[in-house]
Amino acid sequence: MRFAPTAEQQDLRIAVRELMRDRCPSSVVRAEPDDPAINGLAEEICRMGALGLLVAERDGGLGLDENYLVPLMVETGWAAAPLPLVDSIAFAPGLLSHAGYSDGPDYRKRWCVADPAKRAETRFGQPAGLLLRGGFGGTGAVQLVDLDTAVRSHLAAMDPSADVHDVRGGQELAIVDDPVLVRQAWQRGVLAAAAQLIGLARHMLEMTVDYVAGRTQFGVPVGSFQAVKHRLATALLAVEFAAPVVDRAGHSMASANPGADRDVSSAKALASEAARAVGREAIQCHGAMGYTTEYDLQLYLKRAWALAADWGSASWHRARLAGHLGMSLTGSTPAG
């Protein structure tokens, strides 16, 4: 029994963290989708093999499991990396392999966007050549679509750095309807989103602590007020008790635990709530400063809001969890 990352997992985390601090500062999060800095970041991520993290070694991947996916996503979430990482690294690999799209070294360049709820909507689609449509909740078929042949139009969103598009049509390349693969892809997407939310929450909390420790009001640091201390203590509690549940969910998937679906839903529900709670306290503790787009907090805040709502909201996953616990809700729990 040992509930802690291995040295290899820890090394991966550090490598990703260094890459993110180096290549994904807030200026990159703010950049236009076709900015060279974003392309550069995408290339670095390819170079470290991250796109093949969950791809079998025989298919040219790293052959690693979800215990490695979690730290990778925590750190890219921390940086709010403006790329479809959840889609390409977590959701896509099993589906692409099955459809024959991961053979040879070409998969490294293969960025995907996912639209599991079939909202005809994508985020961070700029580098992607493939669209994966369907699979919400881990059921149904996933359609592989050639994104270049689809009709795309920009949508205004709360998070302007998310590069949201309305996407319709496009040539169908394949259909994956193997229920095991679709469920695995969905669970991996949910797990990756949960992990990114942990990173985002930690980042917002760090920024807020720095801010209130430095800012003075009524002659003392804002961070010395008991109300501020208690708010941030509450925020830390939310993160510290969500993070191990995300780690646990990664382990359950990696070890094919029959409770994996329950654990993944637990992770996403808690991580979504933690990120929202931290965001709420962060903006209140920043005062008007948190409320301007010149300051970086909003970048991470808006990303957290979107990711908390995406891949099943906290409510959605709680309802699913209730089912796993043998309690069935009478109300409906729709997708998206």
Binding site: A157, M158, F218, A288, Y291, W305, A309, S313, G331, P334
Partner: protein
Amino acid sequence: MDLTWSEREQAFRAEAKAWLTANVPAEPLPSGDTREGFAAHVDWERRMFADRWSVVSWPPEYGGRDASLWEWLIFEEEYYRAGAPQRVTQNGIFLLAPTLFEFGTPEQQRYWLPRMAAAEDLWCQGWSEPGAGSDLAAIRSRADRDDQAGGWRLTGQKTWTTRGAFCTHLFGLFRSGPSADRHRGLSYFLVPLDTPGVTVRGFPRLDGDEGFAEVFFADAFVPDSHVLGEVHEGWRVAMATTGSERGLTLRSPGRFKHAADRLIAEVAHRHPAATDALIERVTGVWLRAFAYQQFTLAQVSQLIAGEAPGARSSLNKVYWSELDIELHETALELLGMDGQLDNEWSRGFQFSLAGPIYAGTNEIQRNIIAERLLGLPRK
């Protein structure tokens, strides 16, 4: 308890309703926090003024109708029910004007009030400074006496000035005397933004609108006639204004009742997404808006009976600002990923987050409630 409206009040409501029905733009105006949206809103303000609806509670000589507090509430109810535009003149009409009525000389009142009612002068507030948010006493911008010219020379910087980039005038506090006593030595100035030495720089807010400005003062001259209230007594004068900002006048219950009703309509619209747990939250939001309305009715009744609201206005501020967030959070939950797109609810959500921060943070309001209403020890 008498919850019936008089004939006069009913007639007033009918007249307001008729005018709003005929005049409110069919399509929502672009956001008043963008440059072209602001211009469209100023047009709307001028149309209101032309028909004497811009300042209903003011005396007729300044463009008003001498409306009672009840009539004002009725007007606000109908205004929000009609989906009429946001009031971009609110800083002047709701924050500065009460202070002008209380502290202004007859000349100042005759000069400034009609221009404000007509949306000729467009006012922004200059409270916050870098390093001084809710802590007004930490203000460092200076006003130096110029006896020869008969006025003051302003130096320093204001920030977080809402819509400052589009306004024509600013009101705010500057340090006119020694700063040994944090609450004395401040004076309350009325400053045209085209005064030489004043520079305004707009910058964007969370919701993407260019709604904030920094305002820089470099030896900008204002005459004595532009000081409101007594020199060095600006703190006391400003406190009266912030009391009014936090008070009854800024947030009418109509706004929240209307938004809660829209939220209920959204539930029907989003039927499959509206789980029981979410419906319970929507019900709770409606209930809080209803409570805010009843509280306000009781408070106006007390005001009319001559009781000043005092620190009780802090109860309003905390309640409506937290209600506003809960209302929009619930809406976003209901909307799912649609709530992450740019729309009325997501913009309202981002706007609501400022509620607990501006006009005295809710932390400060809770201190006030605890100390002045409950009598807990300051230290």
